[in-house]
């Protein structure tokens, strides 16, 4: 009755939410006094097993196959689901990447097990998993209990603390074979269109600087980008900025965009409509810069600056540069 973690990798690199899931899996396994075991899927990815072990895995099930070289929902679900049915772990976790959110419902359906998504807290109560997650645009918290023997959960990225890796740890590696099926051939990832900006992914970023309607024009986002790059932050946008065509859809934070939980969220020229708050209110610290003292964003901000963003933001960038220069 072990705790399993599906270790999400892309292009041969483990993803940040995978480390968070491994770390939480280790904590739950310790509570239950059992093993934490990881499942790694891909092609030519065996080299990642040591890194997975350093996050506390006692064992790694390695499913290495050409079919799994890139994300294929039916094949991935079959590979993981059938292994779960055979070995019957008690708990299965995966980080809430776009793969995790897409894949685990298929896996849960294949296994016939309960699934909780977007979890922000996991506990063991009476020997079973209990999950807490936000719902209805973050307006309520829901506690979910399981009736199935196998309990599956998807973790909201950036919420669960990552363990310090211990490189002296090692894990047993068990290779699992995969027999191709007709279903796998019904789908193929034929191309990846990269839109890399060199900045961190919004859902995984420690810091986000977001701009809204107050930015007035797309070229004005230069001051947001400069501040973001100084802080190693991702750049986000409100719906208004995206709908105006100033920023790409992938930058949108909020109800019809992304849900983010960074350590620091800096909202610049964003009024704070409920749809926007739904996507960022679980940030640890929120700073708002807005000229309207009555903007609802100030109700959730830890630190609010009422003022002209076109003066405040460049000045802030300048001051941070000075500090960094001093500290060398």
């Amino acid at each position: 009755m072990s705790v399993w973690v599906i270790a999400d990798q892309r292009n041969g690199a483990l993803r940040k939410p995978a480390f968070e899931a491994l770390s939480e899996g280790r904590r739950l396994a310790d509570q239950l006094g059992t093993n934490m075991e990881a499942v790694l899927l891909g092609h030519n990815v065996e080299g990642l097993c040591n890194e997975i072990a350093s996050y506390g895995a006692d064992k790694v099930y390695l499913i290495d196959h050409e079919l799994l070289a890139s994300y294929n929902p039916p094949a991935y679900a079959r590979a993981i689901g059938d292994l779960i049915k055979e070995k019957r772990p008690q708990i299965v976790l995966m980080g809430g990447t776009m793969t995790g959110r897409d894949l685990m419902p298929r896996v849960a359906a294949r296994v016939g097990a309960g699934l909780a998504p977007d979890c922000i807290k996991l506990e063991i109560v009476d020997g079973k998993l209990k999950a807490t997650r936000p719902a209805i645009a973050g307006k309520v918290r829901v506690e979910i209990g399981y009736k199935s023997d196998i309990q599956i959960a998807i973790l909201r990225p950036n919420v669960f603390e990552k363990l310090e890796p211990n490189t002296s740890r090692s894990a047993e590696v068990e290779k699992v074979s995969l027999e191709p099926s007709d279903l796998d051939t019904k789908q193929k990832l034929v191309e990846f269109v990269s839109k890399e900006t060199g900045r961190p992914e919004l859902t995984e970023a420690e810091t986000i600087v977001s701009g809204g309607r107050g930015m007035k024009a797309p070229e004005n986002f230069a001051i947001i980008e400069e501040l973001a790059d100084l802080l190693g932050a991702a750049v986000g946008a409100s719906r208004a900025a995206v709908d105006a065509g100033w920023r790409p859809q992938s930058d949108q934070v909020g109800q019809t965009g992304k849900t983010v939980s960074p350590n620091l969220y800096i909202a610049v020229g964003i009024s704070g409509a409920i749809q926007h708050l739904a996507g960022m209110s679980s940030s640890k610290f929120i700073v708002a810069i807005n000229k309207d003292p009555d903007a609802p964003i100030f109700n959730v901000a830890d630190f609010g600056v009422v003022g002209d963003l076109f003066k405040v933001v460049p000045l802030l960038t300048e001051e941070i540069k000075k500090i960094e220069a001093q500290e060398g």
Partner: protein
Amino acid sequence: MKVVVFCKSVPDTETRVKLKDNRLDKSEIKYILNPYDEFAVEEAVRMKEAGKVDEVVAISMGPERAREALRSALAIGADRGILIKDDVLDGSDTYVTAKVLVKALEKDGAEYGMLLFGQQAIDGDTWHVPGQVAEMLGLPQAGSIIKLEVDPDAGKAVANRLVEGGEEVHEMSLPCVVTCRKGLNEPRYPSLPNIMKAKRKPIQDYSIADLDLSPEEVGKAGSFTEVLSYSLPPKKEAGRKVEGEPEEVVQALVKFLKEEIKVI
């Protein structure tokens, strides 16, 4: 080719959520068609307008108010609706929901070319049901798509998923499942004549008995998960708000970033 769009009736985003005895107090909630489902309905109707699809069927599972969500889909241009409504469905988790929807598809006849969902419903926010349905039916799936091209004659679809750092382009054989999100299209506002016309379009009602399901297989009894309680998120303490000359407020902000939360 027939396509099926799944529609959910959800609380309007602006609705204030109240709790009563750790449960949702639904008495004052205003309901709408899930905004993500609008992208799905719009996409299906555009396929029909482009001559690629003969019929667009909208299915909803929910209480009587879900009929209004179906009417909204019919006003956008869906041809007919199916409402799965039964008191014993209350408390169903996503697994049961998927199971019931699959039964409804079977009942309606299985010759569909595509199943379209919203990426998520804005109340539960689970993203579960499309993948669960796809797995139960053994279909390929592309979730969170912002582009879709369908070739019914070749029996193929190509869809772009919006993922971290870019777009995954998936080629699938038909029938397939897609989940729709913002960026795919701009849903239309139904015209008044189309809203009037929607009132005359047929909606077929199914109970669980019609779908050959027993009460033990659905609702709380058939579910693998259950909601133990609802609570309001912890209230954030009111933060500071500074006003004044840019130099002064920036100094205060820098102090906050450096000394209190230590990010610089």
